[in-house]
C-alpha cells in the first residue's frame, strides 16, 4: 500500500487530499512556491518542500522539481489535484518511468481524451452520443449546405484552430449558412492563420451536466450519478448541485451507462468526469472528459457517501473498487458554492490581499473545504477561488435554505468576495424552480447584482460603528497614562499585602 503521497498542488484541493491521507494513515508531502510558504497546505502537510518562484511555470508546473521532491521525500505516489499538472500526459509518463505512482490515468488516456477531435472519434466508436456534426473541413459552399442540412439547423460553425469564441458563427436559417461559413473562415484565417472550419449541431439552452466515474485496473468501471454545473460565468462554474433538478431516473440511467461506456472505451483507471450538454428536451451529448478530480467533487461525495480521494488512492495502488454499481445510491441533495476573492459589482475583478477575519458557518449539514485563515495574505499569482461551501439537506428545498443560512453566517473581511452574489443566485426564480441553463448568470445578471432593500438602514449603522470605533481609538490614545496608573496601584496592593503579611 501507498505510505507517502506528494501533493503537487496548493490551496483547498491540496488540503482536501491531505485530509484523506491522514485518515488512511498516509504521510503527506506539500510543495510550495516563494509566495506560498505561509499557505495553509504547507501547515497541514507532514512535510513541505520549496520548489521555486511564484509563477506556476517556475514551480507548480515544473515536472523536474516535483519529481525531485518526490524522490527526496521518499513519496511512493503523487496526487496532482486539479489544474497544474493534473492533465499533463508527460507528467503521468515521467512518474511511471521514475517508479512513482501517478494518482490519475496513463499518459495515453490523458492524450486521447485531452484532444477534442481524438476524444470525439473515440467516443463515436464506443457508441457514446456526441454533438452531431463533422470534424472535416468545409471546402465549398455546396458542401456547407449539404453538411448543415445533414446535421440540422441550428448549427455552430467552428474554427478547428479556434478558441475563446473567435472563428465561431451561430447559424439559425438556411440563408445564413453560406455567409456564416465565409465569415468564420476569414476570421479563422486572420486569427489563427488557418481557415479550417467544421460544423456542429448547436444545442439550444444547454444544461451542463456531468457524470462522475471511477475505474480500477481490474476492468471495473462504475458511475456515481450526475452533477448539475450550469451556473457558470465565462465558462467558470460558480455553483453546482447533485442531483440535477433536470434529471429523470431514466435519463440518469442512460447517461450513467454512456459515461461508463466512455470510460471503458479508454480502460479508465481512477476518478474521471464525463461532461455532457443536455437540452430542454433531455437530449444529451458528450462534451469532454476530465481525467482528474473536479473542483465540484464534494457534492457527489455528499449524496453518495463515497470518499472519492480514498477511491483514487486505492485504485492507484492497484486495489479493486470498494463499491459495485448496485451499492451506490443518491440520498438527499447537496449544493456547492465556490467562494471567490473577487468583486462582482466591479466586473468580478479579483481581490487578492490580506484576509482580516474569516468566520465560517458551522452546524448541521455544512461542509467547508477551504484554505485561508485570518491573517493570511492571498497571493496575486493563483486562482481567486478561496473556499468551497458545501451543504447537504434532505431535499433540494432544504439544501437551498441551508445554503442561504450558511452564506448568511459566512464572514470574510479584508478581501472582497462573491458571498452576497452567491446568496442572490439562491433567490433567483430560475434557480429556485430548478429550470436554469448555462445562460442563467447572463440572463439574470441584473437581478444577481442588485442590492437588497433593507428594512433597516445599514448605512446609518456603518456610520455609527465608524463613530464608536473612532471614539474608542481616541480613548485608547488617552488611556496610556491610565495604564501606568493601573500598574502603580498593583504595586500598591502588593505593598499592602507585604505589610499585611508582616503583621
Amino acid at each position: 500500500m501507498i505510505k507517502k503521497i506528494l501533493i503537487a498542488n496548493r490551496g483547498e484541493i491540496a488540503i482536501r487530499v491531505m485530509h484523506t491521507c491522514r485518515e488512511m494513515g498516509i504521510k503527506s508531502v506539500a510543495v510550495f512556491s516563494d509566495v506560498d510558504r505561509t499557505s495553509q497546505h504547507v501547515r497541514l502537510a507532514d512535510e513541505a518542500y520549496h520548489i521555486g518562484a511564484a509563477p506556476s511555470a517556475e514551480s507548480y508546473l515544473v515536472i523536474d522539481k516535483i519529481i525531485d521532491v518526490a524522490k527526496k521525500s521518499g513519496a511512493d505516489a503523487i496526487h496532482p489535484g486539479y489544474g497544474f499538472l493534473s492533465e499533463n500526459a508527460e507528467f503521468s509518463d515521467r512518474c511511471k518511468s521514475e517508479g512513482i505512482i501517478f494518482i490519475g490515468p496513463t499518459s495515453k488516456v490523458i492524450s486521447v481524451m485531452g484532444d477534442k477531435i481524438s476524444a470525439r472519434r473515440k467516443m463515436i466508436a464506443a457508441g457514446v452520443q456526441v454533438v452531431p456534426g463533422t470534424k472535416d473541413n468545409i471546402t465549398s459552399d455546396e458542401e456547407a449546405l449539404r453538411i448543415v442540412k445533414e446535421v440540422g439547423l441550428p448549427v455552430m460553425i467552428k474554427a478547428s484552430a479556434g478558441g475563446g469564441g473567435k472563428g465561431m458563427r451561430l447559424v439559425r436559417t438556411e440563408e445564413e449558412i453560406i455567409p456564416g461559413v465565409r465569415a468564420a473562415k476569414s476570421e479563422a484565417l486572420a486569427g489563427f492563420g488557418d481557415d479550417t472550419v467544421y460544423v456542429e449541431k448547436f444545442v439550444e439552452n444547454p444544461h451542463h451536466i456531468e457524470i462522475q466515474v471511477l475505474g480500477d485496473s481490474h476492468g471495473n468501471v462504475i458511475h456515481l450519478f450526475e452533477r448539475e454545473c450550469s451556473v457558470q460565468r465565462r465558462h467558470q462554474k460558480v455553483m453546482e448541485e447533485s442531483p440535477s433538478p433536470l434529471m429523470t431516473p431514466e435519463l440518469r440511467a442512460k447517461m450513467g451507462e454512456q459515461a461508463v461506456m466512455a470510460a471503458k472505451a479508454v480502460d479508465y483507471v481512477g476518478a474521471g468526469t464525463i461532461e455532457f450538454l443536455v437540452d430542454d428536451d433531455l437530449n444529451y451529448y458528450f462534451l469532454e472528459m476530465n481525467t482528474r478530480l473536479q473542483v465540484e467533487h464534494p457534492v457527489t461525495e455528499q449524496v453518495t457517501r463515497v470518499d472519492l480521494v480514498r477511491q483514487q488512492i486505492q485504485v492507484a495502488a492497484g486495489m479493486e473498487l470498494e463499491y459495485k454499481q448496485e451499492d451506490l445510491s443518491q440520498l438527499g441533495h447537496s449544493i456547492e458554492a465556490r467562494i471567490y476573492a473577487e468583486a462582482p459589482c466591479e466586473n468580478f475583478m479579483p481581490s487578492p490581499g490580506l484576509v482580516m477575519n474569516i468566520d465560517v458557518p458551522l452546524g448541521p449539514g455544512i461542509r467547508h473545504d477551504g484554505y485561508i485563515y485570518s491573517g493570511y495574505t492571498i497571493p496575486i499569482h493563483y486562482d481567486p477561488m478561496i473556499s468551497k461551501l458545501i451543504v447537504t439537506g434532505k431535499n433540494r428545498e432544504q439544501a437551498i435554505e441551508r445554503m442561504k443560512r450558511a452564506l448568511y453566517n459566512y464572514k470574510i473581511s479584508g478581501v472582497k468576495t462573491n458571498i452576497r452574489f452567491l446568496g442572490r443566485i439562491l433567490e433567483a426564480p430560475d434557480f429556485v424552480e430548478g429550470r436554469y441553463t448555462t445562460q442563467f448568470i447572463d440572463n439574470n445578471i441584473d437581478f444577481l447584482k442588485r442590492k437588497e432593500e433593507h428594512t433597516i438602514n445599514h448605512k446609518v449603522f456603518a456610520v455609527a460603528a465608524t463613530f464608536v470605533h473612532y471614539l474608542n481609538n481616541l480613548d485608547k490614545g488617552n488611556s496610556k497614562e491610565e495604564t501606568q496608573e493601573c500598574t502603580k496601584s498593583e504595586w500598591k496592593s502588593f505593598g499592602r499585602r507585604k505589610n499585611a503579611m508582616r503583621l
Binding site: 466591479e346 456610520v463 455609527a464
Partner: protein
C-alpha cells in the same frame, strides 16, 4: 464630541449625546440613534438596536481616518472628518491627494506589460499598461489624448492597490 463621517458621497454629522458603558446615544444628522454597541474583538462590534442583533465589522483603511465597514449584507467605505482633517483640508492637504493624472490599479497585482514610455503621446482609448492578478489580466487605458509624463513601474513589478503606475499630463 461632533465629527462628520462620509460614506459614499454623503456626509453625516455625528454627535455623541451619551455613553453609558456600551449603551450609546448618538445623534446622526439630527436623528437620535440609541443602541448597545459591544466591542467583541479589535474589529467586530455587536449591535443591539431595538433588540435586533447584528454584527458590524470595522477595519481600518488607507489612513487612520478611513474605514472599511462590513454590515450583515453590505460593505461600505467611510471617512471621519474631524477637526484635524478639516484643518488639513482647508490647507489643501488631507485626503485631497487623489490624483486623476496617475493611472493606477484598484487591486494588487503584477505589471505584465507597459505599452508606453516617457514622452509618448497617446490617444483616447489606448492601452498603456496591463496588470495581471489571479489569472485575470486587466488593461488600463487613457480616456483622453494624453502625454506620458512618467512610467513609475517596470514590467514584472508587483504593485499595491492604487499605486500610481503611469503619470500622464
Amino acid at each position: 464630541m461632533t465629527v462628520d463621517i462620509k460614506i459614499d458621497d454623503k456626509t453625516y454629522e455625528c454627535e455623541l449625546i451619551e455613553r453609558n458603558g456600551d449603551n450609546v446615544k448618538i445623534k446622526i444628522d439630527g436623528k437620535v440613534l440609541e443602541a448597545d454597541i459591544q466591542n467583541l474583538t479589535s474589529t467586530v462590534y455587536s449591535f443591539l438596536y431595538e433588540n435586533q442583533s447584528f454584527d458590524v465589522e470595522v477595519n481600518e483603511g488607507a489612513t487612520n481616518k478611513d474605514f472599511v465597514i462590513n454590515t450583515m449584507m453590505e460593505r461600505f467605505e467611510t471617512t471621519v472628518i474631524d477637526a484635524e482633517a478639516k484643518y488639513q483640508m482647508a490647507r489643501g492637504k488631507g485626503d485631497g491627494g487623489e490624483d486623476s493624472n496617475a493611472i493606477s490599479s484598484p487591486m494588487p497585482g503584477q505589471v505584465v506589460k507597459i505599452l508606453v514610455k516617457e514622452g509618448d503621446e497617446v490617444k483616447a482609448g489606448d492601452t498603456v499598461v496591463i496588470v495581471s492578478a489571479m489569472k485575470m489580466e486587466s488593461e488600463y487605458k487613457v480616456k483622453q489624448d494624453r502625454k506620458i509624463i512618467e512610467v513609475c513601474v517596470a514590467e514584472g513589478d508587483n504593485i499595491d492597490t492604487n499605486q500610481p503606475l503611469i503619470i500622464v499630463e
